[in-house]
Structure formats: C-alpha cells, structure tokens
C-alpha cells in the first residue's frame, strides 16, 4: 500500500502564511500543526481539514496526496 503525503507546507508557502499564523487561524496548537506538516500525523479530523482548507482557501486535494508504493508517483 502506498502512503498519504501531506503538502500543507507547499500550500502555506503559496499563501505566504507562517505556521503560527495558520495555527491560530485554524485554532489548533502549533505543535499539532507541526506534527501534520512533518508527516508524523496518523490521522486528521474532518473538522481540522475543513478549517485548514478554509484558512488556506483551497481543496483537500491540494493538501493531501496519495503516493503509490511501486512507481513512487
């Protein structure tokens, strides 16, 4: 099975928003947002996803990506 890659950092760079600013907008702790950004997260709540999409003005597909195990693409 492949894996889910979190591309929050790419979207954050596009929107030019800092980690702390996004954390306060989404109303989660910077530590938790850091867990998400570094790919350590095991799960994400729909409410958190919705709040991040709202703050970054994007779709879930812009943040999350499925990468296949075989061709790595």
């Amino acid at each position: 099975m492949g894996e889910i890659i979190v591309n929050v950092d790419v979207m954050m760079a596009k929107r030019k928003i800092s980690l702390n600013a996004l954390a306060s907008k989404v109303d989660i702790t910077p530590a938790n947002l850091s867990i998400l950004k570094t790919g350590k997260a095991k799960a994400i709540r729909f409410s958190t996803l919705a709040a991040i999409c709202d703050a970054l003005n994007c779709q879930p597909g812009d943040i999350l990506e499925y990468r296949d195990e075989l061709n790595n693409k």
Partner: protein
C-alpha cells in the same frame, strides 16, 4: 502548577529513598560476598550445612553407621530430630566445595538480590518520569506509560517468574550433592529446601503482571494514535 510541583517533590522523595535502599542492599550483598569469599579461602575444603533426614524402609539407628561414598570425605552429624547439621571435610581442594558454597550463597541471598532488582527497576521508572516531566508540560501520568517503562515492568514480571525457578535449581543441585556424598544406612537424606517451600505463588504474580503489561501496551498504542491525530 503548585499541585504538579508537590507531586514532583513527592516523586523526587520516592526516588531518593529508593536510591538509598538500593545502595544499602547492594552494599549488604557486597559485604556478604566478601565474607563468604574470606570464609571459602580460609577453609576451602569443608562444607558445613543442614539437611533433612527421614527413615527409609529399614528402621534407623542415629549415630550408627555413617559412611561416605567418596574417599577423603569425612562426615559428622548432629542429629536434631529431622534436621541434621553436617560437616564434610575434603582431603584436597574440590570444585564441588566451591560450587556448593556459591550455590548456597545465592540461595540464601536470592530474596535480597530479587528485592534489589525490583527496587532498581522501580527507581528507573520513577527517574524516567522525573526526567521527562522536566522537559515538557504534560501531566505526570502521561509519562509513566512509555514503551521503556513497559519493558522495565516486564523485567520485573520475569524476575517474579524466574525467582521460584532459581530456587528450584538450588533445590535440585543441593539434593544432587547430598546424594553424591551422603550414604546413611536406613536414612534418606534430602535438602532442607522442599518443593512445597518454594515460592510458587510468585509465578502467578508474574503472569498477572504480564497480563497487565499487555493491557497497558494496548493503552499506549491508543494514546499514541490519539496524540498523533490532528
């Protein structure tokens, strides 16, 4: 905040007292080792011990015919109803003497070594909690259930299971030696350790520990998943 500080102070107190007790027991064991080493070097070819006797099929006559199957071994017995004190004198240095002495040293001091082992791991658990709490703001209970501490508790559980097994090996070895060097007409000689006097209940405690560890491990897995859910 002050509540956490008082809890930390309590933990520190527990750790310090565990430190003191551990060091005291370790020093005591070292002292006993030194004493027994001196004792062995002073009279390296005699064994003084106690055994139990019970009549074989023929009736016994105490103080009667005593003999040893091995040449150069002298036996002297002081009958005391069912327990006898014996002294074996070997004419030359014998590895069995050293083995027997070491065996009895471990058998007599096994509870102390066992307590030291458990207290040492308890101290390490308390210490790990103290170390982690200093660096973070989570509650104290959050740090007790870590993978390392689970491993420590598992060592304690293994110690509980191993303890009666070590006693059992001492029982076997003691009986083996007595059977090799004792031959009394009409009397069966056995170790003063009996199967019933071994701490079999410790095995049950150890198994209960292992069950609790499995529950804790599941809890840790759930907590980790919860912590990593954003």
């Amino acid at each position: 905040m002050s509540k956490i500080r008082s809890k930390l102070l309590t933990l520190k107190g527990i750790r310090t007292s565990l430190d003191v007790v551990c060091v005291a027991i370790a020093l005591l064991i070292l002292g006993l080792v030194a004493v027994s080493v001196i004792d062995i070097s002073r009279n390296p070819n005699s064994i003084v011990g106690t055994a139990t006797i019970h009549p074989a099929k023929d009736p016994i006559v105490l103080g009667g015919d005593l003999s040893s199957q091995v040449e150069g071994v002298n036996l002297s017995l002081k009958p005391n109803f069912i327990e006898v004190q014996y002294k074996m004198l070997f004419s030359q240095n014998h590895t069995d003497v050293i083995f027997y002495r070491i065996l009895w040293f471990f058998t007599l001091n096994l509870p102390m070594i066992f307590i030291l082992f458990i207290l040492f791991y308890l101290r390490n658990i308390v210490n790990s909690v103290l170390k982690e709490v200093r660096h973070s703001q989570h509650s104290i209970a959050h740090y007790i259930f870590s993978k390392r501490n689970i491993r420590r508790v598992r060592y304690i559980a293994f110690a509980f299971i191993l303890f009666p097994l070590l006693e059992l090996s001492a029982y076997w070895a003691d009986n083996l030696l007595l059977q090799r060097y004792f031959s009394l007409k009409g009397i069966d000689v056995a170790s003063i350790i009996t199967m019933g006097s071994l701490s079999w209940d410790y095995i049950i405690i150890g198994l209960a520990f292992i069950v609790i560890i499995e529950i804790l491990r599941r809890g840790i897995a759930l907590q980790e998943e919860n912590d990593l859910t954003v």
